[in-house]
Symmetry: C2
Subunit: 159 residues, 2 copies
DNA sequence: ATCGCTGCAAAAGTTTTGCAGTCGC
DNA sequence: GCGACTGCAAAACTTTTGCAGCGAT
């Protein structure tokens, strides 16, 4: 049982990124990046907390939030609210996709970015607004709930 | 100074809508609808509270939330989180537009729906997902902050 | 008269902040 | 050693919930 990864800052791929940005390299920052990297999808602050505290018990939720704010402002991480009460965070540079959030059932689907490239170009050209490439939240109704609501509408007056 | 509008349920255009949905007509519900209607854009629960309590002081924030939940589930109102901590609510049927939220400065711009119609059709066809027609939140960077960040990047190592 | 809606108050959950000590540089 | 970063604890906010009473139908 080798005590191989007592943080080992030198061996993380993120050390270089932090240095390059002039940021101090700390366990908390590396662990937050590694949590997001390992998990792949979006995580809430609480989920990140659980992941990181498993290998570095002293870490504190407030630090997670402060770190996420920093990383977001540095462009390494994106913050999205998917309507679940808590914000979701995701690593920039992951597979590009956007979020379809069903307002009825709360399900979150992912759309490939390619389907939305045209919109991004249009927004940039017409509004000077650069949409985050992996970071649109589109609210609506998913297929399942759409069918269900048809039934509801058909017999709405019964309620 | 005529005391003309002591709620006057009968005269509100929303009474019929509520009745048709089988909902009771109450001051709180009418006032929430009227607040959203009068304001035009998106409002937070707190803003709605202020607007309504000005003409019906007894109203309570909890009621606002409960009412908004109901109206949302009835499809009369949409709920969006624009990243400001509190959710924003908007009347369905207002001029169709979507929201460009700048993550740097927090500004919220509106995009005409026409620019995004193609996306909506595509999402419906490919994913069976009906995007709310006046209700996409797109996060990114606005023109102003885009320029500013170019400067920052150019001299990033100074930090 | 019934049952849904509301006010009030308290709780739950998320995010922020102040401060003193610690650690990266 | 200096100043940034962190842990701890408490506060600030937003939203939800239980319950008793009121009010729309």
């Amino acid at each position: 049982m080798a005590r191989q990864s007592n943080i080992q800052p030198k061996h993380s791929e993120f050390v270089g990124r932090f240095r390059h940005l002039g940021l101090r390299v700390t366990p908390a920052r590396l662990l937050v990046m590694e949590a997001l990297s390992a998990h792949g999808g979006h995580m809430t602050a609480e989920e990140i907390m659980q992941w990181t505290s498993a290998r570095y018990p002293a870490i504190n939720l407030a630090t997670i939030y402060r770190t996420l704010d920093l990383l977001t402002s540095m462009g390494l991480v994106t913050q999205t609210d998917l309507g679940s009460g808590a914000s979701s965070y995701e690593l920039v540079g992951d597979t590009l996709h956007h979020h379809l959030v069903c307002q009825q059932c709360g399900a979150v689907m992912e759309v490939d970015d390619a389907a939305l490239t045209l919109v991004r170009e249009r927004l940039l050209r017409d509004y000077g607004f650069r949409a985050d490439p992996g970071h649109m939240a589109i609210f609506g109704t998913c297929k399942g709930c759409l069918d269900a609501s048809h039934h509801t509408i058909a017999s709405a007056t019964q309620r």
